[in-house]
Symmetry: C2
Subunit: 719 residues, 2 copies
């Protein structure tokens, strides 16, 4: 993990010696003086302070620093000093220092009679009125070293207003943390209070980030509170915890991933191990789906008990199959997998797709470890086990025991769970969603989201990637793959299990604040990923995003026949971070020319309910052709004058005409009406207009997701 | 508004004299000493303080109170003292008081050279470490007097962590405010800080509530900050603003509303003014829908140019129609409405349904005022104008120009907007939703949501009411109607325009904090209303809530074939405030007996994906029959072993068997699978199981809404 170049050399040696001596003593927590040596070495500002080992010492030190001072117990055995009654603030006279010294030593002895007490820290007290913040770093099981920032005091504990980033941070990322907390305005100064020194805070975040990045054995750093003033930022308390650094699992190079994934997704030859002629068997379903799906490559059934399966020559072993094979699909019981995988390895097949269950998910971890070891020995990449298989539609490949799927299109979908995979399939079929791939990941013994993301990022048939996941085996690899992909195409993630961990998190130190989900949320956003709040949202985004062209600017305009829809569409714009354009006077006049005098221009543009098709057509055309407008939201109201299919036809036509002129703007529509609006929506969707019946939220959510991606991809300035 | 009995008599006289003298001087803001007389009269604690008109005065007063003190400018012309540099805190010596006096008087003069300066308030300084809170009251345009509570300091301003209630408050409501802010835990004491005196805060909220309730001309009260300690609560700053009290529009009695609404919804005879034989005319559509809808009462066309319309005798005027008429439906242009309404009034028809547009919504306020005046003169209740009409399905009444709707059922739907009304109709037809009524409210010149709520609350055919609204003409009448209805049946509200006002709100005083939407949100919740976040949610709740029996307790159990669905269903439970039951050991063992050894009991109960129908059946039956379980969430995974319709049939059968035994528990289901799950969901929905395909969120959201209602109705303890 010490992969970042850094400028600390003498300073690093200081930290190294502090850490080494603490570990030599078998301690995982640094004392306050040790903490100060570490923070001093990394240029993290702390108040003037010194250790007093006697009461007289303390008085002398306080006299030198000036009153008031803070007194704190120093003991390697007492981590939570406040709880131990080991802290006194605002000690403002010689007599008070003298009394305070005895008090906190007494308290500490009562709190833990076994504690070794090294003395009392006397510390310069920081200016009243400074803003308390928390700066910290911890080691997340998924993402490794992460940096935390929040407002200090009791509110961070109660409101959990904290934000996280992957370490190491650059300056832009560090600065973005100050804006990412709910109470960000406090740092800019409110009600006449001065703004804090942002450069000082940003610098402190970077220094903490560098520290944990340089020393992987530093598991946690807590600077809490940090006093932020207009002139600087000073850490008043330092807590540093050590642990054995985690070992990251082996990494494949980007080239190696692309090579094996390309053979997985575009194979020339597939072997089906456990192929069967018998209806109802998985090995039969897989064969049928490969054949009926229209796969043009070679399909080699492997089954020692058959000569021919579904008209294809069968082989006793994969070793007998002639020529190169790109993928071996396993449709045999778990207990036979290891032996067959050995043969796959010996044959030099690069990909094993393990459909069978009966591995880690049923408690058979040892069996799974065994197959992983075999695969690693031969360099075979493993998809699964415990999956429904996968689809690669542009290659007419249905290597699954479900039903074929043949609507080719722009979205690649993956799911960790088989049930969710079936929901993906059903939804896609029901909505006629154009798909480039559907992949089951199951136990993720090897191939996981970052491998697939790396491939789909480069796949010209894929315009959007949507992934259901419950965990990430390697959060850093995923973030790296997402960062490489997002500038090219949107990545949507449904992270399941998002609430439980957060709900259990408690306490005030950085580790406890880092409830799983908040860390996922911040770091996925940092990686530019669109996080779907639920399954249906993921599916709808997957359907809609490839259909919409990227927006070229922020100006969104609503054109509606129903005033009521206009209000709800405006609500949805606020919910999804879209900016309703302030219509300039000339454009307002241009819209007004088309609508009745009692209609409202402005934004929403309310063309009123009784209007003929020509009014919809003229206003939509103007919305597309005026270069100051960047996206359209249409609100349709079913009337006898303009029936649903008439609206759909005219809208699709006007959009197509604009595209023929090189005008590509995202257009979404909400259709309010009787059931005929359903067919109208399907007609529009097929023609590049994202349209939904009976909802004002869904079309705006889809547009909002497209904008979120455009910002993450750098096509638009940050929102 | 002075309708509440109260115990203040002498005290009221004091307040009256303060208010009268301020108004006599033409002032709308009370001075600090006036504010103190008012708060003293109502028993609201404030710090020791007195007015100094000279510097020497100030020094003498401070000496008497003890240091430190606060100095504040007193001027009727300076409301925002801090911004004027007119406040000094922590003034801790005679010399500092002397210097401070000149400073703030100087600052105030600079801030506003015209300001009349009456002196400087010298105030006892409150204990450091007290929790600052804000207590206030304001006058909301929709709801009238409302009380506000939040944490003080800059965070209330930045994080808007404030809660609102209608005045007058009772003790329970006042106490609930302390728990309704995000930072509620702060008041209970965190990190060893003591809890504040809740009774003192609750008392202060009640006193402020009584004050504004007793004196409607008090438009706004701000106690900010209030210092809350373990021993009391003291208002450090008082700001009171006066205004002319608003006049409430005339109220109908509950009996009068029920009588006219019953004749509207269950008429024996309907006249159609502007009935027509000509296709495409609104008066023709209305006639056809009445006839084809199967209305069994009399239908009287009124049209001076026809003798017969669609086989019914036509009349030249409604005055010529024989016998009583309950409803006159208007299908004539706006300009003819007034004259026809006069005749409706003279005929003694109690209800006029005004379909035509061309009134206030097109700027013709005067025309609308004219018809309202005519209606009031004759005692005619008016629905509309500018509506699609209304449906009363159990009475086979389709008094609308849309298409008939005949699926009788338990939900009454209303919409302010015609477009949303069409979405309601389309959605209901597409999903086969059982409906008791659909009503357009349009311009709400007279009949509004509280009239309809009052009626539907009593209507035995209505089990749930869902309302789309953009505003409330009389928020208090709506709350009263909701409170009377919610104990009997759920009320769902989609409040449109919910974000704009909130986004515009700014500043720190109570009036500015009361952004429209937060007030609606808190007060609708206080009234027990379920607020739908969007149109589709309202429609889905409307469809699902009448189908689900009320839960009898908090224990929710998830039974799932797909582990992946189980995780997402659990997420959704947290989102929707549902409590996953902790399964006791005997019940755990009972479930385990039915599922494979690698399946997981606990909650979710993961029966695993490959199980036959018997496993679903046994576990669902156990879930229904064990009395400790109160609601079931099912996660189905499409397999060859248990196809979708097999699951649907067995689930519906087991639920029906339980109901036959008197076991009524809400059961919802998420079906993950290929498109056959859609038919399975429809089958289940018709049989009382709320089931959705391709979503884990929607079924749980419906169950969550049912629980929210059950708590509001007092069937379950508060969540």
């Amino acid at each position: 993990m010490t992969d970042s170049a850094h400028q600390y050399t003498y300073e690093s040696a200081v930290v190294r010696s502090v850490l080494d001596s603490a570990r030599a003593e078998g301690r995982t927590a640094l004392t306050a003086p040790e903490g100060k040596r570490v923070t001093d070495a990394y240029g993290i500002a702390t108040p003037a302070e010194a250790l007093a080992t006697t009461c007289d010492d303390a008085v002398a030190l306080a006299d030198r620093m000036g009153f008031p001072v803070v007194l704190k117990i120093v003991s390697p055995d007492i981590l939570h000093k406040t709880e131990a009654g080991g802290v006194l603030v605002g000690v403002d006279s010689t007599a008070a220092v003298r009394a305070g010294y005895s008090t906190i030593v007494g308290n500490a002895r009562k709190y833990d009679p076994e504690a070794r007490i090294l003395g009392v820290q006397v510390q310069q007290m920081l200016p009243a009125g400074a803003q308390e913040v928390i700066v910290g770093a911890t080691t997340d099981p998924t993402f490794g070293k992460i940096v935390a920032f929040g407002l200090g005091g009791v509110l961070v504990e109660v409101l959990k207003d904290v934000t996280f980033r992957l370490a190491p941070l650059d300056d832009t990322e560090a600065a973005s943390m100050l804006d990412s907390i709910a109470a960000a305005a406090v740092l800019r100064g409110v009600r006449g209070a001065p703004a804090v020194d942002r450069a000082a805070l940003t610098g402190m975040l970077r220094r903490v980030s560098d520290l944990v990045n340089d020393f992987p054995e530093i598991a946690e750093v807590d600077l809490n509170p940090v006093f932020a003033t207009p002139e600087g930022a000073t850490a008043a308390d330092i807590r540093i915890i050590l642990a054995e650094p985690a070992v990251r699992r082996p990494q494949f190079t980007r080239e190696a991933i692309l090579e094996s994934m390309t053979r997985l997704m575009k194979p020339a030859a597939v072997a089906v191990i456990g192929a069967s002629s018998e209806d109802g068997k998985i090995g039969n379903s897989v064969m049928k789906n490969l054949i009926n799906g229209g796969f043009a490559g070679d399909i080699h059934p492997v089954n020692p008990k058959a000569d021919d399966i579904l008209g294809r020559k069968a082989y006793g072993s994969v070793l007998d199959v002639p020529g190169d094979v790109d993928v071996a699909v396993f449709a045999i019981p778990a207990k036979f997998v290891a032996a067959a995988l050995e043969e796959v390895g010996r044959k030099g097949i690069p990909n094993a797709v393990l459909i069978p269950s009966g591995f880690a998910e049923t408690g058979e971890e040892a069996l799974q470890d065994e197959i992983v070891a075999i695969a690693q020995r031969y360099g075979v990449r493993v998809l699964g086990p415990n999956i429904y298989g996968y689809y690669s539609t542009w290659h007419d490949l249905c290597a699954t025991f479900c039903t074929p799927y043949d609507v080719k299109g722009g979205v690649a979908l993956t799911s960790q769970s088989g049930g969710i995979g079936m929901a993906i399939l059903g939804f896609a079929r029901s909505t006629n969603t154009g798909v480039s791939a559907i992949v089951g990941l199951g136990n993720k013994s090897d191939i996981d989201e970052d491998d697939l993301l790396t491939y789909f990022g480069e796949d010209p048939n894929t315009q959007c990637i949507a992934m259901h996941l419950e965990d990430l085996k390697d959060g850093r690899a995923f973030v790296a793959a997402a960062r490489a992909t997002v500038p090219k195409k949107p990545v949507v993630v449904l992270k399941a299990g998002r609430t439980s961990a957060g709900a259990k998190a408690a306490g005030s130190h950085t580790g406890a604040l880092a409830g799983d989900d908040k860390v996922y949320d911040d770091i996925l956003r940092q990686a530019g990923v669109i996080r779907a709040p639920g399954l249906r949202d993921m599916l709808e985004y997957a359907r809609a995003l490839p259909v919409l062209p990227p927006p070229q600017g922020d100006n969104v305009v609503i054109i509606t026949g129903a005033g009521g829809s206009g209000v709800l569409l405006s609500d949805a714009c606020v919910d999804h971070g879209l900016k309703l354009m302030e219509i300039p006077p000339d454009l307002d006049a241009a819209f007004k020319a088309f609508i009745p005098p009692f209609g409202a221009a402005g934004n929403p543009i309310d063309i009123t309910g009784g209007e003929p098709p020509s009014t919809y057509e003229a206003t939509i055309r103007l919305g597309l052709e005026d270069p100051r407008i960047h996206a359209l939201i249409l609100g349709y109201w079913h009337t006898i004058v303009t029936p649903p299919m008439v609206f759909a036809e005219l809208t699709a036509r006007v959009v197509a005409e604009a595209r023929a002129k090189g005008i590509h703007k995202p257009v979404v529509a909400s259709l309010a009406g009787d059931t005929e609006v359903e067919a109208a929506c399907a007609y529009l969707f097929e023609r590049g207009v994202v349209a939904y019946p009976y909802t004002t939220e869904q079309p705006v959510a889809a547009l909002g997701a497209k904008y979120q991606w455009a910002r993450a991809a750098g096509l638009l300035p940050p929102g």
